[in-house]
């Protein structure tokens, strides 16, 4: 079974703090993704990566950055947390294939910024 793990289920930070959210997958997937989930808005793509050290902006990258130094690990960074970044953050991964792809999701990190 594919396993995508996230470092924390719940996190509380203060405005202005630098925040790191970590994601690890154990299936040697090339692609990794960060989404945020907000009530009434569904999931929105923040950043994704299709290879080590490669990254692409998603639909809402402002205020975030990412790091992928190893294939299995994809970090989301909030350089200076703000209250509007209070949300549920979901990490996902998928493999590269000659055909369609399915993404596997982690359990999520609920971040509260005070």
């Amino acid at each position: 079974d594919v396993k995508v793990t996230q470092s924390s289920r719940y996190l509380v930070k203060r405005t202005g703090e630098k925040v790191f959210l970590e994601c690890v997958q154990d299936m040697d997937h090339e692609n990794m993704f960060w989404y945020r989930q907000d009530p009434g808005l569904g999931l929105r793509l923040i950043y994704f990566s299709y290879d080590v050290k490669m990254k692409e902006k998603g639909d809402i990258p402002e205020g975030y950055s990412v790091s992928r130094e190893k294939k299995e690990r994809f970090s989301l960074i909030l350089e200076s947390a703000s209250t509007n970044q209070t949300s549920m953050y979901l990490c996902a991964s998928s493999f590269v294939a000659g055909g369609p792809i399915e993404q596997f999701f982690g359990p999520g990190t609920r971040l509260t910024v005070l």
């Binding site: 692609n31 569904g42 793509l45 299709y50």
Partner: protein
């Protein structure tokens, strides 16, 4: 940019009722379609997916969905719902252009409540 529209944000049904949740997408190219479910307190799980072939796809827990290309729709159905189907349901689309490294585009979700 592609978009996904889910028609109902909140649905309340009684047990044994039939369910249909609507999903329409905006992109006309080759797409892969998914329904994900999130049970209370649990992580997002794949319910079913359409890649190609038979437009009627069957998923877990008795769910099915029909892809109608001419209508850009991928509606989710279940003939008889159970209390345990109470959850948030998300329709998602990904553009297939080889490799599939892009992210999924999700609808805003439908919160389904099944009353005993």
């Amino acid at each position: 940019a592609q978009s996904v529209s889910q028609h109902n944000h909140h649905v309340i049904l009684s047990e044994a009722a039939s369910l249909e949740l609507g999903c329409n997408y905006s992109y006309g190219g080759t797409v892969n379609l998914f329904w994900y479910v999130q049970y209370p307190g649990q992580h997002l799980q794949l319910l079913l997916k359409y890649f190609s072939g038979d437009p009627l796809v069957k998923g877990i827990k008795g769910f099915e969905a029909e892809f109608i290309k001419s209508k850009f729709s991928f509606n989710l159905r279940k003939p008889s719902v159970q209390w345990s189907d109470t959850a948030e349901y998300f329709c998602a689309v990904i553009l297939w252009e080889g490799g599939g490294a892009d992210g999924l585009t999700f609808g805003k979700g439908t919160h389904l409540i099944i009353q005993p």
